[in-house]
Amino acid sequence: MILRNLRRKLGIDTRQSDYTFQKDPRFGHIASARVADKWVKTTCGYCSVGCGMLIGIKDGKAVAARGNPEHPVNLGKLCPKGLSEHHILDAPGRATQPLLRKDGKLVPVSWDEALDTMVEKFRGVQERWGKDALGVVGTGQLLTEECYTLGKLVQLGFGTRNSDGNTTLCMASAVSGYKLSFGSDGPPGSYKDMETADVILLIGANIADNHPILCQRLERNRARGKDCTTVIAVDPRVTKTAMLSDIHLPVKPRSDIALLNGIAHILIRDGLINLEYIARHTTGFTQFASFVATFTPEHVAELTGLNEEQIIRVAHLYGRAKAAFIGWTMGVNHSSQGAVTVTAINNLALITGNIGRAGAAPFSITGQCNAMGTRETGFTSSLPGYRKFDNPKDREDLARLWNIDVDRIPTARGLAYPDIIEGAVSGSIKALWFIATNPVVSFPNYSVLEQALRSVEFLVVQDGFFPTPTSDFAHLVLPAAIWGEKEGTYTNSERRVSKANILVSPPGKARPDFDIFLDLASRLGVKAELYPNWTSTHDAFLEWQRVSSGRMCDYSNFTWQQIEDEGGLQWGGESLYTDGIFPTADGKAILHSVPCLPFIEQPNAEYDLILNTGRTVEHWHTRTKTSQVEMLNHMVPNAWLEMNPVDATRLELRPHDRVNVVSRRSSVRNLELRITGIVAPGQVFMPFHFSETNSNRVTLGGFDPISREPNFKQCAVLVEKYVKTLT
């Protein structure tokens, strides 16, 4: 080492060998370190776009990531997170051994001790406080096979109904909205629709930052010819996506319902609706038409801050389109009115017949790589296979498939994620199990969450990384395998089931979540009953095929091998509801009348700014993964606060000033200020990824009454200059 340093000091290029190039047989000239022995197909583990990848493996290590040119989702392209995804596998922050808190400190223990303790503690809590005193929060990061396995373990093994996913922080409103309008969850369209639609209306969806690989669909659509498509972005912030749109509607926060109702009003008024489709496939039109009659362009202009011409123009574009597509993400979902906003979107599609055919769909673009898998298999807000708790036939169905007594299947869902946290504070939840999620950063109104985490008797955090902000509170930490270390399927936003494969072995003693679940089942004595002869996730897939067979999300038509060979397969085909028959009682979709209510916490003289939160392309969620990728972290190492120059002048703030964002609940301190016309006067924006400057210290504990999704997007704050103190 000394010799090496000396040689380096003298000017010998000691690192020369790190900078040599070789010819990869498949991908050509590249840095030698990136030349692989073999390339393994897999699916990206970050977002719900579901890009196909090829990961290069050399000497048992993942050395390179490439988009799979054969994969229909991304045609060889990846975003910066995907392109560097192999770096997370051997990151220094991986969790490698079970840790149990003893005398206040987390100390390494054996898996036996860890899982025995967990079972003992959970059982103890359940014996003393009742079965439902255990709360479980799963994730859209798991494989579909694991979600399915976990659902059975929690509901039938541990016997608690209080199980939910972190997906409730993400797309629960889309699920609820689809259920309200169509009688079932299931995004009706495909990405391909974005290539053929004449109008693409993106509401609260900053795909350029959050789903960048979808943007090439817009580009391909435009390449069809001049003026053959119009991309319209509805967003209070001039996002990257707004800037690449043809029309940007800078609506006031949370006025999207007014806009949607206003568009419906104009469509009905100007006869741009499909009366035949309405008559044959919907119910509630008369009531709906009279409801939106009050949403005149003048009224809507006032509510949204847009001008009447803009609203009429967009309504006419949508109404006259041969095929119109509406895509939305968190701008819609992250709201206490999220579920009904989704129905307002569905209304537009239904009254114009823009559903069930190429280019036409109301389409929720989801968040996590396998949010859809949790929706379909999850035993949380519904029963596996989009079955309903309150439907006796569905319950009997499952009991028969599982060969269990029907009474063991609950007749109503348990607590949703926010209510589990609430329960922990109020004392009804006494033990918590978090799987691959980091609520300390991702859950709104941190102070309540902190109280919940401190209140429970036993808290288990199962994650691929350690430490995480949440594991700081844990009594037991279970090290889990992550993407690239386990085999199974992910389902993306367009219902495409893609195969995720094993690239490397998990580090240290980390184990796949599936193995942990099965091991727990053995210790609970339910393995033989719930998972007869199961050894691998493939066994879970085979059972899930039987359970989903004949359901809307039917996985029985394709094998793992077929999924892999085809680059993923969509259940339900490219469009759902092609026949206009919906899974409601009468087969018709329902038009809902959705009032436009002001968001919960309006600004006042003291808290005079509206805080909006969101993401940036370089990072993923709470940065447990992307903070481990040096390149991504180097690009955006810290959060910032965007403020309009008008407000900055008023507050006498300058670019790069350090500021505090203060709400009625708490404050985010020492944020870098970015003064920019991207945000409107009166509004500020910050990314939520950073635990160091956690936006959820100030966000609101307000939740959608139907979907239970938090209202992350609007709360009232004040911004003040940060002053360094000695504390």
């Binding site: 840095a31 030698s32 180097h634 016309g677």
Partner: protein, 553 residues
């Protein structure tokens, strides 16, 4: 250079995984081979270069969504660490809400027609490839002097600390040769980056398409990158990274090296003018020079190859500096040796068998030879100092590229040179009494060095700094104003105050005959000035992001 891509595409039998994106983002090789008649243009040229042509990047601002995949792909391609990015993204923004515009620049090397990196390189590590026009850098030839880092107006070359050499974008030359897209082109999900062919003569006449908000003027080096902008971009868009100007590297070794060599040069000249050179005085100067040159060698990323720096003396000011100071050292050493020999007592000469050399007739010419050697050393010292100053006259670093730089270098030589001999004239008589010097029969010469130059030069030196500061603050060039602003920050302000306090201290010390104090104050002033010179320069650069992520500084 072969471009087998088109052939491979047309034969239709190639592995579908051969990486190629069509400009319309269509799927390559979708059509069965027999019906391939016309191909949508690919993102790299499909014909061979003709005489007078070269490759260049085309970047389409209107297509870029700022996803930064190109940056990651580049780092992965070249195996660079996270803080070295050969391709960088910048943001440019403008307008008022809601008519706000924000666009992105994605830039690698611009493979300029008049590349400054090539001209300045002292070791000829850069080549403009005669076939492709790609500006190639050889890590093997590089000695890590980082002069190219200073010379490039786009801050493209970046120093790799761990290796001791510079590196830069080579347009993935190795991939292009095989008919494959460069990593950035290949990674872009929007087909915003492509390689195209440019006619060099035509481009030299009209390179307006290389200009963009957020990019330094293309004319400095005639950047070949073509940039497609949205309408009215120039009027609306501005860079967003100007609010956070960061200090540059202090290059402490260069601070000391330049100061010491200038001190020696100035002292030698004053002593020659006053005809008061003696062996001890020269020996001390020689020792200082030796220290300075060693410091400068270890400033390099690869000191062992410092000798290569002489190679490009016809072109590079850095080579000329090395040459000048090398000869300076040799001449000074010769002068010193000669002065010792001349002064040696006869007995010692005899013992050392030097009598045959030091014949009386030769000794007759000794003072003349000594003076000639002394003035030749002074000449090389001045020449080296001027060459040294010219290193910093680079358009890419506006605050350096001012007449004040050579003036400062010469005045600094004079400033220390007017005080150091005074101090030494006091010290040498004491040194001469050191016991181990007795056999050499040294005696201190009476000196007649005046003190008035010290006052005069100190005043001129300060005046030069004051005028420079005023000119920086009032400049129309952003980077120069930014330098003035940096000097005005709470971090640097104390240094600036000290910068002016020191010459005054030197004058007062001289007045009271405290020549050692005066010398120390003069050294402190010049060292401070040089430190500020290095840390406060704001280089030209492409616009970077708000957080300046991806910048190497």
């Amino acid at each position: 250079m072969s471009l087998p891509l088109i052939e491979r595409a047309e034969d239709g039998n190639s592995d579908g995984i051969v990486r190629m994106t069509l400009a319309d983002l269509g799927r390559p090789f979708e059509a069965p081979p027999q019906v391939v008649t016309t191909l949508t243009p690919s993102l790299i040229p499909t014909r061979k270069l003709e005489e007078g042509e070269q490759y260049r990047f085309h970047f389409n601002v209107t297509k870029c969504i700022g996803c930064r995949s190109c940056e990651i792909a580049c780092n992965e391609q070249n195996g660079n660490p996270a803080d070295i990015m050969w391709r960088r993204i910048g943001e440019i923004e403008g307008g008022t809400y809601p008519d706000t515009q924000r666009h992105y620049l994605s830039m690698g090397c611009n493979h300029c027609l008049d590349a400054e990196c090539i001209k300045g390189c002292p070791v000829d590590a850069y080549k403009k490839d005669p076939v492709t026009g790609i500006v190639l850098h050889s890590a093997d030839a590089c000695i890590g002097c980082q002069y190219c880092v200073w010379n490039c107006p786009y801050s493209v070359p970046q120093f790799n600390e761990a290796r001791g050499v510079v590196g830069k974008c080579d347009m993935c030359h190795g991939r292009l040769t095989d008919g494959l897209e460069p990593a950035c082109v290949n990674a872009c999900p929007e087909a915003a980056i492509e390689i195209e062919i440019v006619n060099k003569t035509a481009w030299r006449v009209d390179y307006a398409a290389a200009e963009s908000p957020g990019m330094p003027a293309a004319g400095l080096t005639i950047s070949t990158t073509r940039i497609t902008l949205p309408p009215n971009a120039a009027a609306k868009l501005e860079r967003v990274d100007t609010g956070r100007i960061q200090q540059e590297h202090a290059h402490l070794s260069l601070v000391f090296m330049t100061t010491l060599i200038q001190a020696v040069t100035g002292s030698l000249i004053l002593a020659l003018l006053c005809k008061s050179i003696d062996p001890l005085f020269l020996t001390i100067l020689l020792a200082i020079t030796a220290v300075a040159l060693n410091i400068s060698i270890f400033h390099l990323g690869r000191p062992a190859y410092a000798w290569r720096a002489l190679k490009m003396w016809r072109r590079s000011w850095l080579s000329r500096e090395v040459l000048g100071f090398g000869l300076f050292f040799a001449a000074l050493a010769a002068t010193t040796a000669a002065s010792w020999i001349v002064e040696l007592p006869p007995q010692l000469c005899a013992n050392l068998h030097l009598s045959s050399i030091l014949r009386p007739d030769l000794l007759h010419f000794a003072p003349f030879i000594l003076t000639a050697l002394g003035w030749s050393a002074a000449f090389f010292g001045i020449a080296g100092t001027i060459a040294s100053a010219f290193i910093y006259l680079v358009p890419a670093r506006p605050a350096w590229d001012m007449s004040h730089t050579p003036i400062d270098f010469l005045l600094s030589a004079a400033f220390i040179g007017s005080t150091l001999p005074l101090a030494l004239s006091l010290a040498i008589p004491h040194l001469a009494h050191l016991p181990f010097l007795h056999p050499l029969g040294i005696y201190a010469q009476p000196t007649n060095i005046p003190t008035w130059p010290a006052y005069l030069v100190a005043a001129l030196w300060m005046l030069n700094h004051i005028i420079r500061l005023i000119r920086l603050a009032k400049s129309t060039v952003f980077e120069e104003r930014a330098t003035a602003a940096l000097l005005n920050t709470s971090r640097l302000q104390p240094y600036v105050l000290a910068l002016f306090a020191m010459p005054i201290a030197a004058c007062i010390s001289t007045l009271f005959g405290l020549f050692t104090c005066a010398t120390l104050a003069a050294f402190a002033a010049v060292l401070l000035g040089r430190y500020l010179f290095f840390v406060s320069v704001v280089p030209l650069n492409m616009a970077l992001t708000f957080t300046r992520g991806g910048s190497h500084s």
